[in-house]
Symmetry: C2
């Protein structure tokens, strides 16, 4: 038994739900198929004992992310500023130092940070986000790791190590894993068609991608869209097979088969490659998708009766250099009501590799020790604690996004968004701007909906 709609959408995250919403607005019928028993993809609200929520997944929004902000506004979802009042703490070796702004007070590393930031700004400005492989020096930039590129011309190892830490949270991977060209394209994408991308905007809080949070938790955006789509969203329906013909598509899930004129696939590329395709995906597109494994990232959050660090003039933010701690960066994640107090730490990249295999109790203890380095020993006695390891999540398998190693972008990158007859691609990894972010997901969903409407214009 099979159900027929105009467009089948695989995945009920921001990309899939946005695509479905735009298609319904255009008068099309849709069916959104979601493997999980919930919507939201890499956004996930964690409900606290008192019913308030805090995010266990993607959560921050900021300037130039007008697509996700516009969608939120459309849905009546509001935002509030992330907490930035007070000093941030820089942790290096046995020392913890307070500072203000985004640049840690490391006198030895400062010249390198300045140099690296300038080089990144200049070099990323030369990259066309829609076609990084067209860069005149693309071959050379893609043949080296971002770590190699950062080290070249650096004065010492300090600045490189620190930038690596900052990227650890943004990427879930060390700079060694990314191609330099991919890293530059990623930075170039931290903006929009008018505002060129920048590292500052990518890693910054005030004025940057961590500036604001979503009232009710970021998952609420997907939940509102799903409510409006109603019965068109089917949960618990992992897609096992997609048959695509000149006349239409058939998508087979654990919860039945669905026929459509077109299909938009928003699963992470490395999971899209696991679907049984008939006919097969082109070998080059499959080869690319398999090389888009996600970074390794978990979020660890501790709950306190109140955000006590604010009373000490601390923002709750911390930057950890050198890899001695599981946490590479941390934020005040207190709900807009002001209590309970919540600290959130990213355990990403090399930190994840080291700490994820350890027993939960040991890891949790080390995370609290990391927090204590920033806000003092009171961090050791939370009233609650939870973790979300996105790498262990069956239908994501990593976080926050894909990391392309050297040699991939120039040889296979152009296949990323290429439609395959009636098969269209969306998802945060299919966006030129804010690739890997909520805004990129929304952008990609809107673009896929437009492509389907254009492509199916001629259908009966």
């Amino acid at each position: 038994m099979s159900t027929t709609v105009d467009t089948v959408v695989v995945g009920a995250g921001l990309a899939g739900l946005t695509a479905a919403r735009r298609l319904v607005e255009a008068g099309r019928t849709v069916r959104v198929l979601e493997a999980r028993d919930r919507v939201g993809g890499r956004t996930l609200n964690h409900v606290l004992d008192d019913g308030q929520v805090v995010e266990a997944g993607g959560q921050f929004v900021g300037p130039t992310q007008d697509h996700v902000l516009g969608l939120a506004a459309e849905l009546g979802v509001t935002t509030f500023p992330a907490h930035t009042v007070g000093d941030t703490v820089y942790v290096h070796g046995s020392r913890s130092r307070r500072f203000r702004g985004d640049i840690p007070p490391d006198r030895l590393a400062l010249p390198d940070i300045a140099l690296a930031t300038t080089r990144l700004a200049r070099a990323s400005g030369e990259v066309d986000v829609a076609a990084p492989w067209e860069h005149p020096d693309a071959g050379r930039l893609d043949a080296q790791s971002l770590a190699t590129w950062l080290r070249r011309g650096a004065i010492g190892a300090g600045g490189v190590e620190l930038i690596d830490t900052l990227l650890g949270s943004a990427f879930g991977a060390a700079a060694s894993e990314a191609s330099a060209l991919y890293g530059l394209a990623y930075v170039a994408g931290a903006g929009d068609e008018i505002h060129p991308g920048s590292l500052d905007r990518m890693i910054g809080v005030a004025g940057g991608a961590q500036e604001s949070r979503v009232v009710g938790g970021s998952q609420v955006i997907s939940q509102r869209m799903a409510e409006e789509l109603g019965d068109s969203v089917t949960l618990g329906a992992p897609v096992r097979r997609i048959e695509h013909r000149a006349t239409g598509v058939t998508v087979t899930t654990d919860a039945g088969s669905f026929d459509g004129e077109e299909v938009i696939v928003t699963a992470p590329p490395h999971l899209a490659a696991e679907i049984e395709w008939s006919p097969s995906l082109p070998a080059h597109q499959d080869a690319l998708f398999r090389r888009m494994a996600f970074g390794t990232l978990m979020k660890c959050e501790a709950i306190y009766e109140r955000p006590f660090w604010r009373e000490d003039g601390l923002s709750g933010q911390g930057v950890f250099r050198g890899g001695g701690t599981p946490v590479c960066s941390m934020f005040d994640n207190t709900p807009p009501s002001g209590s309970p107090g919540i600290l959130m730490g990213f355990v990403g990249g090399a930190g994840w590799r080291k700490w994820a295999p350890r027993p939960a109790r040991e890891r949790g203890g080390a995370v609290l020790q990391s927090f204590a380095r920033v806000v003092g020993p009171a961090a050791l006695a939370p009233v609650g604690y939870f973790e979300k390891d996105w790498t262990a999540e069956r239908w994501t398998r990593g976080g926050p996004t894909a990391v392309l190693g050297p040699g991939v972008l120039t040889t296979l990158g152009q296949w990323r968004d290429r439609p395959l007859g009636r098969v269209h691609w969306a998802g945060a990894e299919h966006s030129d701007y804010w690739n890997g972010y909520m805004d990129g997901a929304v952008r990609s969903g809107e673009a896929a909906a437009r492509a389907v409407i254009a492509h199916s214009g001629g259908h009966p």
Copy 2:
């Protein structure tokens, strides 16, 4: 309905069949489950019109590959020397030059080749194949691409480019895609416990890994083992799910469910990660397997009435520098009877990226043009032609083996062979020596059988 055996083996390639064979010898019952409708994995005989065979997959064996050679001898399978009589041809730009030996006559590149070979020999000699991450400089070596490492200290780009060509066939990937540490470990593994690995042995014909071929085609080794195993081998049974408990395992395929005390999984790691595991694979093992995407490689073979190039004093071997041709290296692949004449070219790495998406006719024409650069215009008029694109093969998805990018080996490498309760790993990627080769596959199968026997010693 389910069948119970001592050990379920996933995959009927060399690793799986060898494991099953050794287990049966030890008195165990086995069931080998193969997704394809044939055995042999990455070995595949192509039958010529006259009934002779030539290989479309892995084919060469050489010194120190005593595990596959020993197995062949056990099965009554013999080998014969690859054709090496005559000159090899070096193709660069518009020039084709004849030479003897393994080092092309490129005067400008020669100093770099010598330098790179010496550096590779020295540096790979310092790598422990069983634990490359223990190298004192492992972090630095793993943070850079092999291309970066080769370029460092090189005099010009020529030598690097040429070594890249040689690796293109061995790896199916450019040196830009591999971590330097992984590349060094790969070279260090081109030997055995007594003979240290070397680049010469890896890329060489006489005295190297391309020294001999298998009479009847390399797939015959697997076919003989499968014959002896009889009904214990089930074809057309892709494994979809593996449940592993303290008391045993259940393996679910499209052809039924199979219970066992233990399971040996020999699927390529990146495909093993696609199986539905219950409980899940540890996130770190999954993260590693997903980062073990295979190189991109196809074999293109042209058939002629006789090996006419031999009459011109040519070996039929060619080395192509610079990437202007689809073929990066070619060999005389004539059957031991001496006719028909067959030329085989590898289209790998960057060449595959460029040429695989093109129409078959255009690609075939360019391959024959490549052959003509080596043996003259007679190459343009074959009596037959066939290609095998291993990247398009559903149950391999690349070739010849996994290529680890920077940052993976040091942070996740130790999880490669780690058993998971009653789950054991084998396959060419699970061997320290001749990783990715037929010998590595046989080694891994033997090791897995020993591990199962040791592990299950205490079972009732």
